[in-house]
């Protein structure tokens, strides 16, 4: 019968909703205003039914861990010795040739994927442009390449901040560092000056003075010559 079933449904709905009342009252962080406005049917359902909530959590966990699975497989494929970004069928013959340059722009490489790059002791140029998963933790792993790395490009990586740039001081042989277009860096002008002080022999590209907040004191601080 339609009537008793709908009554039961409503009862179950109210039961779930009211038993969650305790959670709602003791909530630490209230939802932001704009999130509340855009409350979709899915969010409404997951507030009232435990199963929908569990499903959404499962999908979120899957999404978060998917990065790691994708990356390992991908890395295994292209880490074979090759010159600048050129894939060739003969790379199997080049197994003993030291890798000089790796172009990983746009790749989904992450912290664990760097395992494949770090043993390359003769690596001179590394490009990690526009890599969405390269963050401060990844930068802290680059110190084994200090002996040979001369060129590093990090432009366009959305998760790198000035805290990760601080651990590039290990790379003393670095001659060119491209840190343009890093949206997560607050105070780009100041960061550029501090990075230039940290790596005196390196040419730092990006984060032009026009972008950052430069006062007269900071301009006086610049000891190293500014190529730009």
């Amino acid at each position: 019968m339609a009537a008793p079933r709908s009554f039961l449904c409503r009862l179950a709905l109210a039961y779930n909703g009211s038993s969650r009342g305790m959670h709602g009252l003791s909530g630490a962080v209230p939802p932001e205003g704009n999130q509340r406005k855009r409350r979709t049917l899915l969010q409404f359902l997951s507030d009232h039914f435990y199963d929908v909530e569990a499903l959404r959590l499962y999908l979120l966990q899957r999404k978060m861990s998917k990065v790691h699975q994708e990356n390992r497989f991908q890395d295994h494929e292209w880490i074979r010795p090759n010159k600048r970004g050129h894939f060739s069928g003969e790379f199997l013959k080049l197994l003993t040739v030291p890798v000089q340059a790796v172009d990983a722009s746009g790749c989904a490489i992450n912290y664990d994927g760097l395992d494949n790059l770090l043993p390359l002791k003769e690596l001179q140029s590394l490009s990690l442009q526009h890599c969405p998963h390269v963050d401060d933790w990844c930068l802290s792993r680059l110190y084994p390449l200090a002996g040979s790395l001369q060129e590093l490009s990090l432009s366009g990586c959305p998760q790198i901040s000035e805290r990760g740039l601080a651990c590039l001081h290990h790379l003393q042989n670095l001659r060119r560092l491209d840190i343009s277009n890093l949206p997560a860096v607050s105070y780009p002008g100041l960061t550029r000056i501090l990075v230039e002080e940290m790596l005196p022999n390196c040419e730092v590209l990006g984060m032009d003075e026009a972008q950052g907040l430069l006062g007269p004191e900071e301009q006086l601080q610049t000891a190293s010559p500014n190529p730009a």
């Binding site: 630490a28 966990q61 110190y143 740039l165 105070y187 002080e197």
Partner: protein, 486 residues
Amino acid sequence: MFRSALRLRSSRVLLVRGLGTRRGGSTLDWDEKVSDIKKKIGSILPGETWAPLYDTRHLPPEHSDVVIVGGGVLGLSVAFWLKKLQKKRDGIRVLVVERDHTYSKASTVLSVGGIRQQFSLPENVQLSLFSVNFLRNINEYLAVVDSPPLDLQFNPSGYLLLASEQGAANLENNVKMQRQEGAKVGLMSPQQLQNKFPWMNVKGVALASYGMEDEGWFDPWSLLQGLRRKVQSMGVLFCQGEVTRFTTSSNSMVTSSGEEVVLKRIYEVHVKMNNSLEYQPVECAIVINAAGAWSGQIAELAGIGKGPPGTLKGTKLPVEPRKRYVYVWHCPQGPGLEMPFVADTNGVYFRREGLGNNYLGGLSPTEEEEPDPINLDVDHDFFQDKVWPHLGRRVPAFQSLKVQNAWAGYYDYNTFDQNGVVGPHPLVVNMYFATGFSGHGLQHAPAVGRAVAEMVLEGHFQTIDMSPFLFSRFHLGEKVQEDNIF
């Protein structure tokens, strides 16, 4: 008929309202009455507490499987792992009791936020390694649907521990042990130090150990809020109140040698509301003491330490609050971005804070100079007399600096061996400890939370063996001394 009567009444209200307001007569607020009635009907339905006489929403529930005393990072970490490792969904009911929801005196938020693997005990190194793994993958562990990802503001700048002639051999052994456990730590000679950090004065330094990876500092407040948010989404209940009493039942048993042992179980926890005499007895199966600097008081409430001294019954929990100062100063010519978290030979520690040439640091006072932990007032003379001279010697640029800010926080100091207490009490069988870390609790919190959750759910430690940290060592006199404490 009823509807028409309503309409009549409301129209009469409209007529009367114009005159009534002058006389201050009450208006019939029909909307409010309707919502009150709806709330009352809603509270009768199953799942809601039926409280016809007065509002009980601020009180904790009457039953809970696990009561965690203390809502700091350790307490929340235990709650998180209990819920994560539970076999059935909603299989374990957890209640976190925290006295101060603003965390104004909590050691977690007043902490300097450093994490390192450079310890002298292998278990501590393993705890740190797991914790840093946890922090790196924090958005996998603490993901909550519809919430933004967490940003811990981690600075991977590493720790630099300096050693004089006397401490050099010890440092070398420690580094060897840390590398065996998997930490990425390297040794540096004074010459290498001078080349790498030209702003340092290496006089008096015989050897230094430098953490290359997985060490640095982060924002403890974001970790705490992230844990809180996740733990609430997993169904842990929070209560703002103070634990004032444990009601225990005893069971007397005789050992094989004929000695009588009284084992106690806590079956009820009295949670008193703040600023009132109201309390709620919460029936519980397990109590976890994660009260930080106040763990000693909580242990006394459970009767731990009430007995003739020298016996197991008379062994108190040797955790007491110790006040530590942190000072923030500005030095315009100070070290730059590459500066790690430096810990000097005499215990003075300092690190960079932000990009504006600000630094923070402090020193743990000696036993004789211990300040009174009655309040968190800062002693600025301590900086002038004890900290600044050492700073100026080690980093000459620090000879001219200006103190911007200072605060004080508590260490949950373990007077026995400055290392944590984890695991159940031998006599009060259902009280588990997760406290006493004396200044390195924050960096071990994820791993210790998991260890305690494993102990509660499985009965033994599974991933990291924390049996040297059990309570029984206080009675047996087996110290697990941690040397690298700042």
